[in-house]
Symmetry: C4
Subunit: 208 residues, 4 copies
Amino acid sequence: MSSELSHNSATNDRATARLEAFSDGIFAVAITLLALDISYPFNEHETNASLAKGLLLLWPKYFAYTNSFVTILLMWIAHHGIFKLIRHVNVQLIIANGFLMLLAVLTPFPTRVLGDYIASGAFKTAAVLYTGFFVLVSVAFITLWFVVKHERKMLHDHVSDNLVRKMTKIEFTGMFCNISITAVTAFNPWVGLTLNTAMWIYWLVKTK
Amino acid sequence: MSSELSHNSATNDRATARLEAFSDGIFAVAITLLALDISYPFNEHETNASLAKGLLLLWPKYFAYTNSFVTILLMWIAHHGIFKLIRHVNVQLIIANGFLMLLAVLTPFPTRVLGDYIASGAFKTAAVLYTGFFVLVSVAFITLWFVVKHERKMLHDHVSDNLVRKMTKIEFTGMFCNISITAVTAFNPWVGLTLNTAMWIYWLVKTK
Amino acid sequence: MSSELSHNSATNDRATARLEAFSDGIFAVAITLLALDISYPFNEHETNASLAKGLLLLWPKYFAYTNSFVTILLMWIAHHGIFKLIRHVNVQLIIANGFLMLLAVLTPFPTRVLGDYIASGAFKTAAVLYTGFFVLVSVAFITLWFVVKHERKMLHDHVSDNLVRKMTKIEFTGMFCNISITAVTAFNPWVGLTLNTAMWIYWLVKTK
Amino acid sequence: MSSELSHNSATNDRATARLEAFSDGIFAVAITLLALDISYPFNEHETNASLAKGLLLLWPKYFAYTNSFVTILLMWIAHHGIFKLIRHVNVQLIIANGFLMLLAVLTPFPTRVLGDYIASGAFKTAAVLYTGFFVLVSVAFITLWFVVKHERKMLHDHVSDNLVRKMTKIEFTGMFCNISITAVTAFNPWVGLTLNTAMWIYWLVKTK
């Protein structure tokens, strides 16, 4: 399509906007589907007291839901942070972004496993699946960032080399944290999950 | 990112638009998922008369669906009302908005509980969960509004101090109503739910 | 908010675009949720022949899915046709649009009932629910159109009185057809459903 | 509506953008719904070892999910590729696009069948359904492209005849591949599915 070169700049801006909007749509649906898993067995003989107790016993699902909701929101913020530096879209970026989306959409799955087994004998496996999943998410973010960073002209002119280095460091720190947390979870799931929650609280505060 | 200051104004407008669009996507999915809960047990020996009767017996689900649909629509209108005053987006706003979204997405859950138990012995618990849930929604709206109000420069220039005061009063009135309705529901669920419905009809008429 | 009058024109255009985008999001999710109902009981002892037969026996679901998909698509086209004439948004329009959305989102429900009972003894009830549902949709469209038509200044300047009259006629014709089809369905469901399908084929061809 | 001709150009651009956004919304929801099918029977007596084993035994679902995710992403890229050449929207295009959307939304269905029966005696039927489904998708893309190609003025001025011919060739190649793969699958499902996966890897690399 080299003969259409003069149109590249305008269509590329639109392409960036469309990819961003498509990703936002996926994030929006994925974050909403999380709530589908807060289900309970319907029992018509339920009394006020037994229903209240039953609703309280759903706490592992509320915990898993809140944790994953905040995580997808943080993924959206991070995605947003990268995309506002981008000027051009190429196929590598669409693929790397697709890999990230594949994982964002999957987030309800480890969340459901965690919510189902947090109070059972299979807690450790569920927790390792959950924390290990975010190692994959880190890998997807690093891949996305390296595709962007690789061609300097994909970035807006006002993006400084300093900012590029800072972003690279942030991505690697994230992956390192997630790997460590997964390792800790394999020994003690409660400590691992607490670190996982602590990490995103820290992230929220730091971003501020 | 202070070295990119000159670009803030344009990128902030786009950031506001993107946050708004992301929230709209979440509202759209949440409002649509409500309809998933209008389910029924499939029975292949159903006759025309028994199916008609079965469909009528689903009335608690229709009621819960309509009530929650209108509530999410009102949340969307209120969200819309706040966002059209906003010029800048900061991380606190993204977080406060995220808290509101977390609740918007959860709305199908108390709705489902209400629809399942409205005609059972656990009606009061289900109704308190439902009306109490909207106290949380009010808290989320107040938080969002205080984040916006806190930094005057986040608002468009044309927003008068008078309008800011009016909005603050509306948010607090909403929370006060929801707390009162929840208290009433704990004594008499039918009166509480009627007040809940009456409140949003009043709101619709008043907004007009 | 009368003191902000000078900003109305710009913010109103944006308000129209936002309402349109929100509605589009709801249409997109509703049309996608239709596919969720094409389910089947999993059976691990299935053979190639029995699965093939089982997939063919799902034909009522394919029929219901296709019919409802096209119907929601036509609702989207009709919605699109009305909104491209609109310049201003007011609260009445948001409410009338909300009523239409409430029904659009519900479409998977009568579709599921039809798909489940089309080959059973409860076929007539399911078919009347299905065709009767579209009477409600017509009412929603007429309401929306009357809200728009009521204040001439809500429409773009280039909209002629002739076009307004034509639109009014189209909306009433649609309702009349849907009422007739529902009445026919109460006597003979197959004839009613055939007319329902014929109507949207005619509509597609005529719009062309 | 021929009396509104002078407005056509602006409203048509907006119509193209709206159809694109609507399609993107549908793609986004469809791609997200794929993940809903990664389910498992909950068993409260699960141990760490048995849950880990159970999660590994879900491999057919991971495979089907990843394959379909990439396929929908490729459909989105191809859709994007066609729409960036389009200047005008007409009703035929809306209908052809609707047919493509109908299939995009259905993609989770053959995916679920494949994921359920890949390791069973009904594997061949499931695999033929899956690969045969993409023949239909090719037909939808060819239909869409012929609607666009049919009226030269629907395309942007900068689109060369050469590019039009190239696109036509790509669409037919895609259909030919999908038909061949389905035929192979009817004899040997593993070879067929491998070719299916190989095809989209080739496509990704070639697009690059």
